[in-house]
């Protein structure tokens, strides 16, 4: 194969305005006519890297060379003009337009005021689709088409612009297995025609199946690049997740008690109507932390929302202490002893413009202890409550009357945990409990979860941070496309095996 680099990225650093260092000096070379896999966990920086290549983000430092010439893209249209196209995970389609108009938008031809030559555009598109045997209905509004077809439209949109390099960000996440096959066939054919493809994924099998080379990224740095023919899923898994453990948590052995939460054959749909949780069954016992590991977007959010009464359950049952709670709302669930540390603290956990007192009262405000008479809040009691939470959890806040947005992320998170625990639950959902939280608060929160476990509470931990799940859990389920690839004790498996399960390989198959 000819080895001409078409893209060279050198020392790319990206620091976000809030100080997060997403890319720490990444070098990436892409050769003409190859399929390069870009493998990594969530938050590793894969998408950020590709967005800088596509002109959507501007690197803080570093150089991008296209065919040996340095470029600086102000916007995606500059990148497209240089022959680089990207299909995002979240589609950028105008939903009320049909495929044809979505594709020709911005390059309709002729003057602005002349009639669009629909027939000519259709002819050109038809030829493009025939050549690839990759068809979409051109005259149906995009919103009426399934996601798989919408993705094809995105790909055709780029091909219509004659791009040489096609970047696909987790393209198979929304596809059925048959659609994945079809996509791979088209990508291979495009490669035959001399196009270059960058395939972002966390799925090991797909990367093994499709790519020529794989570059693995972890925490904003390139771990290494290997030829796919020389790689094994084990090697890639180790490169992807293998890393040093930062924190140590004291966790005395404990014999778990009775099941507190029982989930039976649960099926839940996602926002797009796809099956997000596909027949999950598990239980969380008293005095146990049950962890759920997996790459984000594999049904975790939908699972939590279903258990906490925020999302409709399609099939299956959920029991709390033997009581059927399927379809019950959050208020009832709180009364039955459930507490919930939601995954998105700024949107679901707190009301940022309200004070510490007000926030610490959310979900408790209807309790008679905090009311003079029904419907009138006793703010003195509420302030007392807030003060005790601040003290007990060592939250650093300017005062009980300061708006919550004045607190740091770590202290905000501690406030949520404190509030939820003060509801005296028997079962706690902790979703991404330490995301974006400083090291000290992270340690505090993790230790506190262990403390709750030691006190005999049942804890369901859902986290994208694999270290966290491994360290804290007594048992863990590895979720992939809404199903458990395995339910294991963390000490009984290697990180490599966990990585393979996260990539969609079942535990039985690994241990065969």
């Amino acid at each position: 194969m000819e080895r001409t680099p078409i893209i060279e990225m050198k020392g790319i650093v990206k620091v976000y305005p809030d100080g997060t260092k997403a890319l720490k000096g990444v070098d990436l070379t892409v050769y003409e006519g190859e399929i390069l896999g870009l493998l990594g966990e969530n938050g590793a920086g894969k998408t950020t890297l590709m967005k800088t290549l596509f002109g959507m983000l501007h690197p803080t430092s570093g150089k991008i060379l296209i065919r040996g010439k340095e470029v600086q893209f102000k916007s995606p249209s500059d990148a497209i003009a240089q022959g680089i196209g990207m299909v995002h995970q979240h589609f950028t389609l105008v939903e009320v337009f049909d495929a044809l108009h979505n594709i020709i938008l911005g390059m309709e031809g002729h003057g602005l005021f002349s009639k669009i030559d629909v027939d000519k555009a259709k002819e050109r598109l038809q030829k493009l689709m025939d050549d690839l045997n990759f068809k979409v209905p051109l005259e149906t509004p995009v919103e009426d088409l399934p996601v798989g077809v919408q993705q094809r439209i995105e790909i055709l949109k780029m091909l219509y612009r004659d791009v040489d390099v096609l970047i696909l960000d987790e393209p198979t996440a929304v596809l059925t297995p048959v659609e994945v096959e079809e996509l791979f066939r088209v990508l291979r054919q495009l490669k035959e025609e001399g196009k270059t493809i960058i395939f972002i994924s966390h799925k090991l099998n797909e990367v093994m199946d499709l790519t020529d080379r794989v570059t693995v990224i972890r925490k904003g740095e390139v771990v290494g690049t290997v030829n796919t023919s020389e790689a094994t899923p084990q090697l890639l898994a180790r490169m992807m997740v293998g890393r040093d453990v930062v924190l140590r948590i004291e966790k005395p052995p404990k014999e778990p008690g009775e099941p507190i939460l029982r989930v039976e054959n649960l099926k839940v749909r996602g926002d797009r109507g796809e099956v997000a949780v596909n027949g999950l069954s598990f239980d969380v016992r008293a005095g146990e932390i049950f962890g759920i590991a997996g790459v984000e977007g594999n049904g975790q959010t939908e699972l939590i929302e279903a258990i906490s009464g925020l999302r409709k359950v399609e099939e299956g049952k959920i029991y709390l202490q033997g009581k059927d709670i399927t379809g019950k709302g959050p208020r009832e669930l709180y009364d039955l002893g459930m507490a919930h540390v939601p995954e998105d603290r700024t949107h679901m956990g707190l009301i940022l413009d309200m004070t510490v007192t007000e926030n610490s009262l959310l979900g408790l405000h209807w309790r008679p202890d905090f009311q003079y008479v029904k419907g009138v809040i006793n703010w003195n009691k509420a302030r007392e409550h807030a003060r005790s939470l601040i003290e007990q959890f060592d939250i650093s806040a300017p005062g009980t009357e300061a708006p919550v947005k004045a607190l740091s992320g770590g202290n905000q998170q501690k406030l949520i945990v404190a509030r939820e625990v003060s509801k005296e639950p028997v079962f706690i959902i902790a979703a991404q409990p330490t995301r974006g939280v400083d090291v000290a608060s992270t340690e505090y929160i993790r230790n506190y979860l262990v403390k709750l476990r030691n006190e005999g509470k049942a804890v369901l931990l859902v986290s994208a941070d694999l270290d966290e799940v491994i360290q804290l859990s007594d048992r863990m389920g590895i979720i992939y496309e809404g199903e458990f690839m395995g339910v294991v004790k963390p000490e009984e498996v290697s990180t490599e095996e966990i990585g393979m399960m996260m990539g969609g390989i079942r535990y039985e198959e690994i241990r065969k």
């Binding site: 337009f97 911005g106 309709e108 002729h110 005021f113 669009i116």
Partner: protein, 297 residues
């Protein structure tokens, strides 16, 4: 009711249609691009006032119409700058424009002509009308129809229209394809307000031949209702606008007959607006990014 009255009402309704249709068409275009404005009421009133001054100074109604349009353009630029470039709220500037008009126009009539609340335009500042046995008909009626038709055609058949609609539906998608979202939105807001300005000046220098401090009479809001009713489609809003104009004309015809107190009859266009809006509420589907400022990540 005899045939003559019917024809007379129909002709009056064509005249009454003009300001509502022009404003609806302009608002539909602007909202298709994603810029909401509730300031059309103020634009109508101010351009009626300033349009009359232009017409008097030049001794030409056509200059008056163009002057009214200029007022619309300037207010549209103000609104566009605030909402599109400064990413401000889309509703507040409209409230400002409406309140401004309520102050400027009554004061301006008194200050400029020395009469309180109302001023009759001299003949040379009024538009030439087609005389019929059943009432006057302005050439602006046909201009309005043409504007609605052409605006519809451009919006749905040309690259310009496709881009305008794309920035109102999904500015991210448009931006990614190299379409300058801010430019399209800004000039769409200007176009929308310019048409309202034309409609306002029509009321003073053409239709009524006078300036009155409350002459916009809620037509800016009725036009917005008509825009929603018409599904943001300029051609449909021509029909919708005529319907509103019809009730306007019907009320004006019925009121002096004292069947019931005239005040109740004059409420007819407003009640019909309420009925129609209540009927379609929840069913109407605005452009997806309508009224949402677009900021790049």
């Amino acid at each position: 009711m005899d045939a003559g009255s019917v024809i007379s009402i129909l002709i009056t309704s064509l005249m009454a249609m003009v300001p509502i249709v022009l404003t609806s068409v302009g608002a539909a275009w602007s909202e298709r691009a994603g810029v909401v404005s509730i300031g059309y009421e103020g634009v109508l009133l101010m351009s009626a006032f300033f349009g009359a001054i232009f017409a008097e100074l030049a001794g030409s109604a056509v200059v008056g119409l163009l002057g009214g349009m200029l007022v619309g353009i300037l207010l549209g630029m103000l609104h566009g700058a605030l909402t599109v470039y400064l990413k401000g709220d889309h509703v507040i500037p409209g409230i400002g424009i409406n309140l401004l008009a309520m102050g400027v126009v009554p004061f301006g009539i008194l200050a400029y002509w020395g009469t309180a609340g109302q001023h009759q335009l001299p003949q040379d500042a009024q538009m030439w009308h087609l005389q019929t046995a059943y009432g006057d008909l302005s050439p602006m009626v046909f201009v309005t129809m043409a504007i609605a038709l052409v605006t519809w055609w451009v919006l749905f058949k040309t690259p310009l229209g496709l881009r305008v609609r794309s920035v109102g539906e999904n500015p991210e998608a448009a931006d990614a394809l190299g379409i300058n979202v801010e430019k399209y939105r800004f000039w769409s807001a200007v176009y929308g307000h310019a048409l309202a300005g034309l409609g306002g000046a029509f009321m003073s220098v053409d239709w009524l031949g006078l300036v009155h401090k409350t002459m916009s009479g809620g037509r800016g809001f009725i036009a917005l209702a008509n825009m929603v009713f018409s599904g943001w489609n300029p051609l449909v809003s021509l029909i919708g606008g005529w319907l509103f104009g019809f009730f306007d004309a019907l009320a004006a015809w019925l009121a002096p007959k004292h069947i019931i107190p005239g005040q109740f009859i004059l409420m007819l266009p407003y009640i019909m607006t309420l009925v129609i809006v209540a009927g379609i509420i929840g069913k109407a589907r605005p452009p997806k990014a309508d009224g949402k400022p677009y900021k790049r990540e």
